[in-house]
Symmetry: C2
Subunit: 660 residues, 2 copies
């Protein structure tokens, strides 16, 4: 087994202390987790009920009733429990821990004798387990509960849920495989693969990695399992309850099962399924040293992030199947860019960083985190976007059915509510994404500039330091060594893509040159306690253009400032926003506004607004010559992640280029 870099056991050794991120963590702990607890208990007025906890109580024999919600409803509860685990690791909360313990008792009671857990198949279709892997999400739900079990165990040391899920995993191991009588299947929605890796790490049981490997290796084998399984079911669909045409092998590309994963060339199909799978592939490539898998990971990473990713780190261009479409098709208005998909992309990036420290992975991770992901949640922590558009015309969202999925306002909860608990679990485990370390290379890599106290074990000994960061508002990072071994080791600092390579390093107040490798400044020296590293990546508002093949952004620019993508909102600018253009030859002005949504840097740009006074309402088209000169206007852009917190209005990330 190779293990290039690692975050193992880092979780409880990195503690975030950061003026930008602390409020998010606190929001998750103080508001999101309790709010989502209410949601899971169907106690939010006017929101769609979840049924998730009720389902478990019914399956446990504690309550009578019908199954409610989607076939994958168990996973919402699992993701919540996982978030609770991470949160408890940060902040003790006996009341919350008691809620979780009680819930775990219920989960235990809902477990079958053989280890099986799934409330849908327990309540609604008993006896039908494993008959519809294609659609019914059993392994998906199992995977989420395994992740919860690991997180809860790591936070509290309590093994109950871990044991429950090991029992389930052991049972799954008997059901699937190449032996006679075993199903040569795999899940319709990948998730268990990455979860089994976590379970293996937490328990030391290598066979869970082997089971994950089985699922990954078997996927896309001939004859196609999903096609054969659908034939077995006579085409009866879980969703329509009717006979449907048997899918072709090409059609199961939706589930990334059209060919073996190592042969997959491009990101295709349902985007969350895809990135969850890529994450597990990267895990396995790292743990097994499988070079072919590594090559596939790199190829799929490149396609996903360089040809099918929005500037906000969103992926998935169409709401039909919540899916990728094809290279460079990134419409801003009919976009999907599901919150969960960007979270999965962050998982994938994290695993790639564990494989090899290349700043590209961290650049994408940061992009998705600071834009798509935190933008999905309202400032009150109680409203969420499932779809994260780059352009919104509220009336079109309301009246054009092709845009119904693009909400102009964050929603309270969703019937299919995968995203809110996913945000909660990511934010409460954010400490795991900041660093990786390589013991053999005696190197600590700093990927994200998030204030934190961090401790690592290198071959040369224990290292501890405190990072202070003024990101995302200023390009200033301050690291103070609090523990250092006698021997040399390397502190690697990411040179963010947005700095365009302009990052200044000072050590103990002295400007210092540095070597770079794969986008990191490598500072190898014999560090001493009290050493101060100052790291100043150039952070300024700048204009970004998109690849000419991305037709949706032709002739347009976006404003970025450090990790943040900016947008224009109607409330600050003249509507329709399509009428304004940005004078690219003139300077952008950034200013911190304490009163702007809790404090944020806004960016002012020189703009033009198309003259409209000469138009009558009754003239849809007229000779261009009648158009009077555009007027100068100041454009005000705000961070994308803050959009939609000041009432309903138009929003756009990409702005027409104008010239005077």
């Amino acid at each position: 087994m190779v293990n290039s870099t690692s975050t193992q056991a880092v979780s409880n050794r990195v503690r975030i202390q950061d003026s930008f991120w602390d409020p998010f963590m606190e929001l998750v702990r103080g508001t999101v987790i309790p709010y989502q607890w209410d949601a899971l208990n169907d106690a939010i007025a006017d929101a769609e009920p979840s049924y998730a906890i009720r389902n478990f109580r019914i399956a446990a024999g504690l309550e009578e009733g019908e199954f409610g919600g989607f076939v994958f409803q168990d996973s919402d509860l699992a993701k919540w429990l996982e978030a609770v685990g991470y949160s408890l690791a940060i902040t003790a909360d006996p009341h919350l821990e008691q809620l979780a313990d009680d819930l775990i008792d219920v989960i235990g009671k809902a477990q079958h004798e053989n280890g099986y857990i799934n409330t849908y198949f327990t309540i609604k279709e008993p006896g039908q387990a494993w008959t519809n892997l294609y659609e019914a999400h059993e392994l998906y739900c199992a995977g989420h509960m395994m992740e919860a079990a690991v997180a809860y165990y790591e936070a509290t040391g309590k093994r109950k849920l871990l044991d429950i899920m090991c029992k389930f995993a052991d049972y799954i191991e008997t059901v699937f495989g190449h032996e006679p009588g075993q199903l040569r299947g795999y899940d319709g929605h990948q998730e268990i693969e990455l979860a089994l890796v976590k379970l293996s790490m937490a328990t030391g049981e290598e066979r869970y990695v082997k089971l994950a490997q089985y699922f990954i290796d078997e996927r896309g084998a001939v004859p196609n399992f999903f096609v054969e399984e659908c034939k077995q079911r006579d085409g009866i669909s879980h969703w329509s309850k009717k006979k449907q045409p048997i899918p072709t092998t090409a059609q199961v590309a939706y589930n990334q099962a059209h060919k073996p994963v190592r042969e997959q060339e491009v990101a295709i199909g349902h985007s969350v399924r895809a990135v969850y799978m890529y994450t597990a592939m990267a895990d396995l490539a790292r743990l097994t040293g499988d070079q072919e898998l590594l090559v596939a990971c790199r190829r799929l990473w490149d396609n996903t992030t360089k040809k099918q990713m929005y500037i906000t780190g969103g992926i998935g261009s169409t709401h039909h199947g919540e899916a990728f479409t094809f290279d460079y098709e990134l419409p801003n208005d009919t976009v999907y860019a599901e919150t969960c998909a960007s979270i999965g992309l962050i998982f994938f990036a994290q695993r790639m960083l564990q494989l090899e420290a290349k700043s590209d992975f961290a650049d994408v991770m940061e992009r998705a985190l600071y834009n798509n992901v935190i933008g999905s949640m309202s400032q009150d922590g109680k409203h969420y976007f499932y779809v994260n558009p780059l352009e919104v015309w509220p009336k079109a969202s309301e009246l054009n059915p092709g845009r119904y999925h693009v909400k102009a306002e964050r929603q309270k909860w969703f019937g299919c509510s995968c995203c809110p608990p996913n945000v909660a679990r990511l934010l409460s485990s954010l400490n795991r994404y900041i660093y990786t370390s390589s013991s053999e290379k005696n190197t600590v890599y700093t990927h994200l500039f998030i204030g934190s106290k961090a401790r690592f074990e290198l071959a040369v000994g224990e290292v501890e330091f405190i990072q202070h960061s003024k990101l995302p508002w200023e390009g200033y990072v301050h690291i103070e060594l609090t523990e250092a071994p006698q021997e040399k080791w390397t502190l690697a600092l990411r040179i963010p893509a947005w700095s365009r390579g302009r990052a200044v390093l000072k050590i103990n107040g002295t400007l210092t040159t540095y070597d770079t490798m794969n986008g990191y400044a490598l500072i190898e020296r014999q560090w001493a306690v009290g050493d101060i590293v100052e790291w100043e990546p150039a952070l300024e508002a700048q204009l970004t253009s998109a690849h000419p093949q991305i037709r949706a952004n032709a002739g347009k620019v976006a404003i970025e400032r450090g990790p943040l993508v900016y947008c224009l909102e109607e409330v600050d600018n003249k509507a329709p926003l399509a009428s304004v253009s940005l004078v690219t030859a003139e300077k952008l002005k950034a200013a911190y506004e304490a009163g702007l949504l809790g404090g944020a840097v806004s960016v002012e740009a020189e703009g033009l607004v198309d003259e409209d006074a000469s138009w009558s309402d009754d003239t849809p088209y007229r000779p261009l010559g009648l158009q009077k000169a555009a007027e100068r206007v100041k454009l005000k852009a705000v961070p994308y992640y803050l959009w939609g917190n000041r009432g309903v209005g138009e929003m756009t990330v990409w702005i027409r280029q104008g010239s005077v």
Copy 2:
């Protein structure tokens, strides 16, 4: 009854002789009608079967079998028969007439004793007639067959189909109305209203107008008929065969039945239903002098054409329900702009012209005809667009489900094939759209500049002239009087909007000034046989911009030349077309190209193409400053109606404005 202007009996007194239009008429006669006959007989290889004729043969007891196709399949056959009528009026064709006569015999045999005709309810749901007006298109199919009957009768003098349909109309009159035992219903898809007006004109039976008026007046009355009818059916839907939620009154806006027609403020719902209804409303306003109806027509005309119409004359912004969305929402790529809807808009325009000769109506009629409608048919007459996009990226049409409806190539035939026969019947009756006349005002209005021999009866006597036209390629019209009464009368010539009021008149070679009214040049004089009128509306390539509220076209221009909208095609320009911009400060050059798709004027513009050589495939986004200067390029635009006849490629009507 008022009758401001009239096309009555004009059909057989205007004969088109025009170098641009004759090939279309000939295509319809020689290719489209025979091809569609084969299609209706399911004899086109690789095309979706129609079943339309087989259904009639089964209903007539001449064949055994199941009903095939949609519930409204009869209407395809009716529209074909109507086209045959118009075509026979132009060119005798004994073989075709025999086919039609034989078909009419079959239709007669499919008629029930009481007059009822509908193959779906005869074959598939006997006894269920009139139980699902909301969805089942019975009156719609009846209306189309009435139109066919009138056209066939006017062309051939044969009354058989006319009598059949009068019998059906008489029966319908007994079924619907306010009397006890009658249904207070109306059709889910408007069509019979305008057809009954035609039937009345052809037969002199005023009660058919009254029946049309009943349908129009009753529509949207409280309690809502469709809502109540759905309750009666317990919500069982024709389409899903399952119980569906009972629609709300607001939801039947889809069928324009949410409120009385006179109260409807904006074009809403299914666009073909809407314009067919508006057409009948205009007919009735003219025939009854109903001012309230006239006001509603004007209001709906204005909303449709000034706020919800594409520059190509297309209407309907979404394929979801083939419907209008709302003011100024006119996306170019996810567009619907159904061929039938533009044809319906032409009907509406024609009826508005019969009410009042205002050039605005004719401008829109011409726009829809020369662009959306003729662009829907391939040059071989055998392939059709149902959806007429203003921007096409073929790969997105193939791989983004939100654009599947936008075909990059014309299709052979459609399962729901309303559009191809609609094109055939419009083109073969085009002589009815060129002129209107007012006997009392002693005026002949020339709305379209299509070469033709035309004869009118005015109060002062018979008028006959020959129009020669060089449109759409040149702005030159030549009219020679061949018969004129002794007294004065007025020749009114439309001053096309595209001439921007610059139209030169010569009479017998002498430049002549003229009075204008409502967009027409009025030339009142004592005309003599041999008088020559030359009419030269300025026709030059020009750039057009869109209202600032039409967000999709912000910062873009379209090229128009006379009645023709132009577009860029990939075959002539650099792809992606989004990369090019048009230098608006420089002149457009138009040139006739004999070799271009049978001869057409193309337009060359100075353009810029975004530099792309400095982009790597692996860079989706980068600082704007890295972009090198755009390069000069010649753009070549071709008439929109000709797009897609030279292989599959990108196309766009709206082009980014560029400046050097």
